[in-house]
Symmetry: C2
Subunit: 551 residues, 2 copies
């Protein structure tokens, strides 16, 4: 029994928070802060060594706050530990170069991946870990709880109630972890309004807000111009629809970003409709509002879409399609990356995406040796969730294909959709992933593999579909992969007889095995051939960003 | 190109919602509804065939609304599809018996599992699927989106801002899915106040609220009286601490409910402290505020706890331990089941729990043939998340143990902690799970297995620890399981030589192999031996429910 007088202080986090807020008050800061005093505020309420969560989303960025943080005095503020989904802006790395922050835990660094690798080599930044999104949010509640978060919203009222607008994205998860563990929540907003259209973040979760001199940056990350879709991509999309979506009756799904999956979306109203698949496939989505999904929505293929974030230009269209999208009483979209990733993990039957390299075990990676790009949401969506317990036609069928005996569980379909060669004639199929070299460079425990071979069920190339579920040995899997690897060196080294056998068994399917004539794979099949066509399909409600307008 | 005039209505859900709200207005309903008019309200704003999400949580219950729903007129309201985490109260099944609802999708039906099975046999209820919690929430955003939700909160202000109090639990996930897809949100609250202590649900997400004549029901589900912990449980807890937590340096973890894991919690300040493990194990938790964790917290073992829900009687203690628990600015706990399950899945290195049956492949189940109990959170927490990409000592070590060659990923530790015989001398270890018979009865695609053998890494019984990671074949796994199955029939059929070999290889460890003397496993080792001791440890701040007070 504990008989000592207990001298431990149990509310030190609350005390620290209180001290910071008192300091701010002494300096005359109120809840609304003038943008010119942002650096001073940050230097007051952030302490050296604090965990600071910056809202670097997939799309919207707390760019004003991030820039202000990077302009703080490193003699005042240093050794910060940055927590951030996406390292997207130069300022996200400036804080390391300037010695304000020293460590980062993140998910994705696409636009900054080259510079990140350089900073690691210069030992100016220490990487804690690289995560998939949902995993990083999970850690916010366990061992990476922010002391301060810098978020962004569209508008605030005088009390500090926040309206995020359509790009709610990470905001609720970040704020919840911070506000309820005695942290400090600072928001930049585009405008101050009398009444917010809806409350996305209640004012009592927010400590300070700043009307930023410029609107926050949002990247139209999911807009793909149909004009750039090639006939090879159309052929592969036909195979996916006829060879995977139809036989597995895929209704609930997620598409990765890219022209390959955009081609599938644009074939639904044409090729898939001719196959009489409307209402039978692609009804319920975890997906950002891809403009290329508009024709499928208008054609009646789609019942619902829940989104991680929104997409610039889709606002009016979404508002007028509330049966499809999640919207608030005000009519604008409500997205939520944490919940949509949860839905993508557990409620979807299929994930399909592209990659840069695939090895002979089916492991895939987007890592290249001089860049540290990270993962985003792919490892989460592209993994078989062993916790899942509900069945579906697709899940059950895939589960049965994977075993010879009694079926105790199903399988999520995880499809990798790639051309055998990518740009600059780099073969996608390789004996060894570059990820192994990157692991050495980074000194990490594991190679940065995007999707593990054991979770991949199908690989689709211009040469055909390999169904890895039906393989009964490592050797068969390897030959199934080589059998669709085309004229890449590893494809050329296939065992012709074994590949022929796999084809007879339906493990490899060529276009002709699916009744698909490659000569029919023309751009005429696309429901929209340009951004302008998408605008037409939307009855003028889709308003693409200017960089996508060429008319 | 789509040249037809598009006649589809795209905002039918919003229109339906509007009509319902107008009907309610015509009948004189305002946002705050008198409790005597609840049935009338429900009959007005729920339509036949609607998906209705009832807040049946693990702990708190929207019991007043559930009862009212069960008293509606089945000629007015029928064919409802109920979505609900936990079927806990008689009224949750009354709606089916009375013909108001016909279908259910749920997670757990512990207290109602026998009656549920009977109603299924009588064809009065059709089960969609049985889910793990996070999976069910995921589906709320994909294909099981509620038209109406019936939730519960502690208090509301006049505008309808809701304060859930410590048991926030499922509320945010349910309301978000409903409010942002044109559904109707109805809340019962315990009291109307001038100002809520904090806003958990903003008023503009809420359509109606009712001050219930009685406070909502909350079950103290996680309170275990130390007086009931046996010496066998203490022995097993010693083995877990010394044989698993110490060598794997388990810092981030989740414990299931039960006396077995309560014993571990109560050995931290004594046995684990003597082993010099303070600060090295059990620092960061995804866990409800178990009273049996108080001594470990007071002894300085614990750094943080994020909770799915709260626990009756722990309010004051939590308020005074804000460095440990997640609390709001008002001082009370903020729980969140969706986010804590996410943390348990992706940020924890270990899940440990008990079960009723384990087969020779390591599959475990709590299903018995005449009950349909469901799963709760175990399949989610007790599965290896293939999406995880961050490493830790435990995750890396487990990953290395599982393979002979190159390590490409880690492994979550999933431990099953059981005595070889449970009550009424039922052997836990069996050749075939009862789950297979239940599958036949239910006509489901898969047997209701709680945790799949492929995810289980260790089985701990009074006879020892079996480390399944180190097994190199199905046969070795089977013998490792038999080798700790004691005097059960399957344990008796072990291959003695093989078991001896497994022990030499460290795959099976007996207490003596771990340097544990079973005669030392006495109740003296427990940091608290009664509920009263827990109150003392808490300096009087833990206030147990009356049924746990015997002094």
């Amino acid at each position: 029994m504990n008989n000592m007088i207990n001298k431990r202080i149990w509310n030190s986090q609350k005390s620290k928070r209180k001290q910071k807020l008192e300091q701010a008050k002494l300096k005359g800061f109120e809840k609304q802060v003038a943008h010119l005093r942002t650096i001073e505020l940050l230097e007051t309420v952030i302490a050296c060594g604090d965990k600071v969560c910056q809202e670097g989303n997939n799309q919207k960025q707390a760019d004003f706050l991030s820039k202000a943080l990077s302009q703080c005095n490193p003699e005042v503020l240093n050794e910060l530990h940055i927590l951030q989904s996406v390292l997207a802006l130069p300022s996200h790395l400036d804080v390391f170069e300037k010695g304000i922050a020293s460590k980062v835990d993140f998910s994705f660094a696409g636009p900054q991946s080259l510079r990140l690798a350089q900073l690691v080599q210069q030992q100016k930044i220490s990487i804690g870990s690289i995560h998939t999104y949902l995993e990083l949010y999970g850690r916010y509640f366990i061992d990476l709880t922010p002391n301060v978060c810098l978020i962004t919203a569209h508008s605030a009222d005088a009390e500090g109630n926040l309206y995020t607008g359509a790009n709610t994205e990470d905001t609720p998860a970040i704020v919840e972890a911070t506000a309820f563990k005695s942290g400090i929540v600072i928001a930049q907003v585009n405008e101050l309004v009398d009444k917010v259209p809806r409350v996305d973040i209640p004012s009592d979760w927010v400590d300070f807000f700043i009307v930023s001199p410029k609107h926050n940056y949002i990247e139209p990350l999911f807009t793909r111009d149909p004009a750039q879709i090639t006939e090879v991509q159309i052929l592969m999309a036909m195979m996916v629809i006829k060879g995977i979506y139809a036989p597995y009756q895929i209704q609930r799904l997620n598409h990765g970003i890219g022209f390959d999956t955009a081609a599938i979306e644009l074939l639904l109203p044409t090729f898939a409709d001719e196959l009489n698949l409307k209402g039978k496939i692609c009804t319920n989505w975890a997906l950002n509002p891809h403009p290329t999904l508009i024709p499928a929505i208008e054609s009646g293929f789609v019942e619902s879409v829940h989104s991680f974030g929104s997409e610039v230009g889709m606002e009016e269209y979404i508002r007028n399609r509330s049966d499809i999208f999640f919207t608030g009483a005000d009519g604008s979209m409500r997205s939520n990356r944490a919940l949509s990733q949860t839905a993508g993990l557990y409620a979807c039957d299929l994930f399909i995406g592209s990659t840069l390299q695939i090895d002979m075990q089916g492991n895939s990676s987007t890592a290249t040796v001089d860049r540290i790009a990270g993962f985003g949401g792919a490892p989460n969506m592209g993994s078989d969730p062993h916790g899942r317990r509900h069945s579906s036609y697709a899940y059950h069928k895939a589960g049965k294909e994977a075993v010879d005996g009694q079926v105790i569980k199903g399988r999520k379909l995880v499809v990798q959709l790639v051309e055998t060669y990518r740009e600059h004639m780099h073969p996608v199929f390789v004996e060894e992933l570059d990820a192994w070299q990157l692991q050495d460079k980074m000194g990490s425990d594991f190679p940065p593999i995007m999707i593990y071979g054991e979770d991949v069920t199908h690989i689709v190339t211009e040469e055909g579909i390999a169904n890895l579920l039906l393989c009964r040995s490592e050797e068969e899997r390897e030959q199934a992969i080589r059998g669709v690897a085309g004229y890449t060196p590893v494809g050329m080294q296939r065992d012709q007889e074994k590949v022929a056998e796999l084809r007879r068994r339906g493990i490899i399917q060529r276009p002709e095995d699916l009744g698909i004539d490659p000569s029919k794979a023309t751009r005429d099949l696309l429901a929209a051939q340009s951004i302008k066509d998408l605008v037409k399909w939307s009855e003028g409600m889709y308003s693409p960003p200017s960089r996508f307008r060429n008319w």
